[in-house]
Every structure is written in structure tokens, then in C-alpha cells.
Symmetry: C2
Subunit: 119 residues, 2 copies
Amino acid sequence: MLSLQTLRDQQDGVFTPACPSRVVLDHVTSKWGVLVLAALADGTLRWGEVRRAVGGISEKMLASTLKTLEADGLVSRTAHPEVPPRVEYALTPLGEGLVEAMSPLLAWVAAHAEEIVSG
Amino acid sequence: MLSLQTLRDQQDGVFTPACPSRVVLDHVTSKWGVLVLAALADGTLRWGEVRRAVGGISEKMLASTLKTLEADGLVSRTAHPEVPPRVEYALTPLGEGLVEAMSPLLAWVAAHAEEIVSG
DNA sequence: CCGTATCCTCACAGATACTG
DNA sequence: CAGTATCTGTGAGGATACGG
């Protein structure tokens, strides 16, 4: 099974406290990051659509989560100069790779959530 | 690609605000949860070994993280009645399944961290 | 419609000290 | 060795109001 030790055998010092992977892991596994990325997996969404798709996220946290993901190069933002304004968010190729890597985790959690909370 | 919508098509209401999967997702993607689980993927570890394997985690957070994971049925705790005390932690079958589902994500983050932070 | 700005709070998290 | 106890702060996150 893939363990921390296995990863470190392949890549020296990975996931040690000072390693950048710790920062990326924090972004990716932030409270809302996973859900926003998964929401965009279907394709481009507008701001309000992301908000509804995720559900329960405040405007402030959506803005901040999208900014972090955009700064990380995982999500792209396209503003259309119209009235009323239209802004669209989509996964970058990098973000698509990440969502694929997250998929088994999401599927597992969806499948086992009931078992765990009732357990 | 696996999206929120895809998951909801298969399982009505999953990952909506009131769904238990949100709680499980929070536990699993907590700051230290991922790293502790990955550390245990190699096999049984003693308290101090987990602490060293993860790196940078305080005693308080290790205790609290292990408790949450144990309560979720993902990690088992075995206290050996010896002096000095010896306590061992291991993944349960459920936890092993979770770690397998997390593996692609960890591998992806390890592979792309540098690329992301350097922007 | 798509955000910013502001204020507030509470639980996450670190540091330190101590115990069976 | 394997924790618990306590104190403290920081910032993630929510609510509300407002602006382009």
C-alpha cells in the first residue's frame, strides 16, 4: 500500500514539514477546495452555479477558495465584459489531473460515509 | 470525469450540506488526518513512531487526530500492559480501503507540488 | 450578477507543563 | 513512553451590508 515512507523512498523529503507538498495538500484538502474542484469537474460553471453546486458555502469562502485555486493554477477564471457581468470558472489541465486523482477518495467517502458516522 | 453531479446522480443528496459525507470528508481531509493515515499505511506504528513519521505535529494534535480516526473506525488502538507502556496504532480494514482511495491524490500532490508553488 | 468590505466568533492549533 | 491539562492566539469561516 502507498505510504508516506514509500513516497519518501521515491522522492526524498516529500511531505516533511518544510516541503511545498504540505502547502499544496492544505489547499487541496481545505474545507471547500475539494468540493469546488469536484463541482467544476463537469465543465465550466458561472460563479452562482458553483455556489449552488457546492451548497452551504458563504460568498466570502467561495471567493477566497476560488482565488487560492486560481493562484495555484488549478482553476481558470474568465470574465466576459457584458452587462450583467458573466464570469466563468473552469478546471485547468492541471486541475483536471488533480480531480482525477481525487476521484477515488470522493467515491470512497460517498460510499462509506453512512457506515462511519453510524459506526 | 467524476464530478459532484455524477456522484449525486448515483446517490441522491450526497455531499449536500446536511449529508454525513461532509463530516467524513472533513475528518479525512483534516490538516493531519491524511498524513497520519498515510504514515500507518506501512503497518502498525507506536505513538512516538507516528509522531516522527508525520513530522511537525504537536502532541495535542496527534492525540486528537488519532482519537477522531479511531472513533471513525479507521484506526485501531492497542495498549500493551507493560512498563514502560507500549501502544500501537494500525489501520482497520476500513482505514486500509480509505488509504488506497487516497493514494492517487497523495502521489499527485507529491508529483506536482513544486510546479504549483513555483507558479 | 459578481463580487468586496467589514465585523465578529469560536474552534483549531501551538506551547508548555505535568502525570501514570 | 504515552499521553493529559491548561493557557493562549490566530485565522478560518459566517453574517451582513454595500459596490461595480
